[in-house]
Point group: C2
C-alpha cells in the first residue's frame, strides 16, 4: 500500500473508505479523480483508495487540495479495456486497476468499490474476488430511475447481470432490491412491484405469476409492501420504489428509456436552434429549460449497484464525467455506511428458511393426505 504524503491511512480515521478503479471509463483518470474531489468537498467522512498508474494518479490528486490526506494510491500497471471479454479479464486481469480495486474491498481496506469499467468484466471479477452471498443464485445489477415519488428515484433490477431469471431469482431480487432501496433512500418499507405486460393476475409468463406469489409471501421477512404487477409506463410512478424483472427485460427497458430521453432532448434542441426567433425563445426560456435538464440529468441517476456479493460494488457509467462519478461515489458511501450488506444477507437466509419450511409443510400435508387416502382405502376394503 502506498501512503499519501502525510502518511495517513484509512484505518487511522473514522472515515468510510471507497476503493476506486481510477483507470476505467471513457474519460480517463482525470474525470474519476475530479469526481472524488467533488464528493470530498461535500463530505468530510469520506476517504479513497485509488487504483491505477501511480504517477498519473499522483499528478491528478495533486490538482485537488481537498483530497490531501484522504487518498491512498495503489499502483496497478494494467487497465481493463471496454471491449475486453470477461473471461479474458478473469484469466489475465490480475495486474489491472479493476482487480486491485476489488482486492482492496475483499481485504477490508475499503467498505465499498466503484468502477467505470466494462460491466461484464466488473461482474466477473467481482464474483471471483468477492464470491456470492450464501444462497444467492445469481447477483443482480440495480439501476436508479427518475421517479415522481418523494425521493425522486426508484430502482429497477436486474438490468443486465443475467439474461434469464426464474421465480426464485426474482424473489431474491425483490429482497435485495428492497434492502438496497431502504438503505440508499432511508425508506423504511419500500414498495416492490414485478414488471409484467399487464396488471391483471392472469397476464404474463408462468414464472412471473409464480414469482408474484413468492414475493407476496416474503413481504414480512423482506420488510417491503408488494404492490403486484407494474407495467413499463409505471417505471417512473410514485406507486412503486423497487421494480423487479429479469436482466434481459430490465436492460432493454433501461436503454429504451435512455434512448427516448435522448431523442426528446435532441428534438427540443433542434427546435430551439432552427432559426433566430427560436434561438431568442431558447434564451428567454433558459431558466425553466435549465431546471428541466437538471431534473432529467442522467448523471444524477449514475450508479449501478451489484447486489448479492460479499461486498458493495457500484458500477459507474463508462462515459461518466466528474459529476456522474461523484454521484456513484455518494451511492457507494451511503450504502457502505448503512451496513446493509449484513442485514440483506440475513433476510435472504430467512426467506430461504421460510421457503424450505413451506416445502416441508407441503410434503407433510401431502404425507397426511396420503395417510387419509390409505384410511379411505382401508375403510373401503
Amino acid at each position: 500500500m502506498t501512503s499519501t504524503p502525510n502518511g495517513m491511512t484509512q484505518t487511522e480515521s473514522n472515515k468510510v473508505t471507497i476503493s476506486v478503479d481510477a483507470m476505467g471509463g471513457d474519460q480517463g483518470p482525470s474525470a474519476v479523480v475530479e469526481g472524488c474531489a467533488l464528493s470530498a468537498a461535500k463530505n468530510d467522512e469520506i476517504a479513497f483508495i485509488l487504483h491505477g498508474d501511480e504517477a498519473v494518479l499522483r499528478a491528478q490528486v495533486a490538482r485537488f487540495p481537498v483530497l490531501a490526506g484522504i487518498v491512498d494510491i495503489h499502483h496497478s500497471p494494467d487497465v481493463v479495456q471496454m471491449d475486453d471479454k470477461p473471461s479474458q479479464v478473469m484469466r489475465r486481469g490480475r495486474e489491472t486497476s479493476m482487480w486491485s480495486a476489488l482486492t482492496a474491498l475483499r481485504e477490508n481496506h475499503a467498505q465499498a468499490a466503484v468502477s467505470c469499467g466494462n460491466t461484464g468484466a466488473l461482474m466477473a471479477v467481482s464474483m471471483l474476488r468477492l464470491r456470492k452471498l450464501d444462497g444467492v443464485h445469481r447477483p443482480a445489477i440495480a439501476c436508479l430511475w427518475p421517479s415522481r415519488g418523494k425521493t425522486g428515484f426508484n430502482t429497477m433490477l436486474d438490468v443486465g447481470a443475467d439474461v434469464r431469471a426464474d421465480e426464485e431469482s426474482l424473489l431474491q431480487y425483490a429482497l435485495m432490491g428492497a434492502a438496497y432501496y431502504r438503505n440508499a433512500f432511508d425508506a423504511p418499507r419500500p414498495r416492490v412491484g414485478l414488471l409484467n405486460v399487464g396488471t391483471e393476475e392472469h397476464k404474463g409468463r408462468a414464472e412471473i405469476k409464480e414469482a408474484a406469489r413468492l414475493i407476496a409471501d416474503a413481504a414480512e421477512i423482506g420488510r417491503y409492501d408488494f404492490v403486484g404487477f407494474v407495467e413499463g409506463n409505471d417505471l417512473p410512478s410514485d406507486h412503486v420504489d423497487v421494480i423487479v424483472t429479469d436482466g434481459f427485460t430490465g436492460n432493454v427497458a433501461l436503454k429504451t428509456a435512455e434512448g427516448t430521453a435522448r431523442l426528446i432532448g435532441d428534438t427540443l434542441r433542434d427546435e430551439l436552434t432552427v432559426n433566430l426567433p427560436s434561438k431568442l425563445a431558447a434564451l428567454f426560456a433558459s431558466a425553466p429549460l435549465g431546471r428541466l435538464r437538471k431534473r432529467m440529468d442522467p448523471r444524477r441517476m449514475n450508479g449501478g449497484v451489484f447486489l448479492g456479493l460479499n461486498g458493495t460494488v457500484v458500477k459507474s457509467h463508462g462515459s461518466a464525467d466528474a459529476t456522474g462519478v461523484s454521484a456513484a461515489i455518494k451511492l457507494a458511501f451511503t450504502l457502505a455506511r448503512s451496513g446493509f450488506q449484513d442485514r440483506m444477507a440475513e433476510r435472504l437466509a430467512s426467506a430461504a428458511d421460510a421457503q424450505q419450511e413451506n416445502v416441508l409443510n407441503k410434503k407433510d400435508r401431502n404425507a397426511h393426505d396420503g395417510e387419509a387416502d390409505d384410511d379411505k382405502q382401508i375403510g373401503q376394503s
Copy 2:
C-alpha cells in the same frame, strides 16, 4: 347491410373500404366518427362501414357532410368492454361491434378493419374470424416508433400478441415486419434488427442467437437487410427500420418509452408554469415547443397492426381522439391499397420452403457423412 341515405354501397365505387368498430375506445363513437371524417376530408378514395348502435352512429355521421355517401352503418347492439376477457368475448361476443367489424372484413365487404377496443379481445376475435395465415405460428402486433430516420417512423414487433417467441417465430416477425414497413412507408428494402442486450455476437439468450442466423439467411427471400443486434437505445435510430423482439420485451419497451416521454413532458410543463417568469418564457417559446409537441405527438404513432392473419386489422389506442383514430385509419388504408397481405403470405411460404430445404440438405449431408464413415470403417477393417 344498411345503406346510406343515397343508397350507395362500397361495392359500387373504386374506393377502399375500411370496416370500423365505432363503439370501442374510451372516447366513444363521437371521436371515432370524427376520425373517419378527418380521414375522408384528406382522402377521396376512402369509404367506411361503421359498426355499432345504428341510431347513435346515424346521428354522429350526420354531423359531418364529408361522410355523406361514403358510409354504411351495420347495427350491432353490444359492445366489448375494456375489461372483458378475450375468452368471454369469443364465447358471447357475436352481437358486438368488434365482431361485426371483423365479419365484414372476413366477408370481403371491406379491405381492412380498425378498432379502438380491448387488445386481447380484438386479437382473439381476429384469430377466430380471420384465421392465421398458412404456416404462421402466432400473429404479432407491430407498433410505430418515432425515429430519426427519413420516414420519421420505424416499427417494432411483437409488442404484446404473445409473451414468448422462439427463433422461428422471431424469423416470421422479421418477414412480416419487413413486408409491413415496405408497404406502409414505401421503403423497398427495410433494415431489420433483432433486439438484444448488446450488439456483440456472443451476447443474449440462445434462441436470439439462433434467430439472428435464421433472419440473416432469409434476407433475400424477405427483401430486407439484416443489421444484426440492436439495443434499447437504438429503437429510434436511423440505422434500423424494423425491430424484432418477443411480445413481452416489446410490450415493456413500448410502455417504458411512453412513460419516459410522459415524465419528461410533465416535468417540462411543471417548469414552464412554476412562476410568472417561467410562464412568460413559455409564451415566448410557444412556437418551438409546439413543434416539439407535434413531432413527439403519440397520436401520430397510433395504430398497432396485427400481422399474420387473413386480413389487415389495425388496433387504435383505447384513448385515441379523432386525430389518433384518423392516423390509424390512414395506416389501414395504405396497407389495404398496397395489397401487401398476399405478398407477405408468399414470402412466409418461401421462407418456410427454404428452411425445409436446409433441413433436408443437412439430413442429406449427414447421410453422406454416415456413408463416408462406413467407407472408412470398411477401409480400416
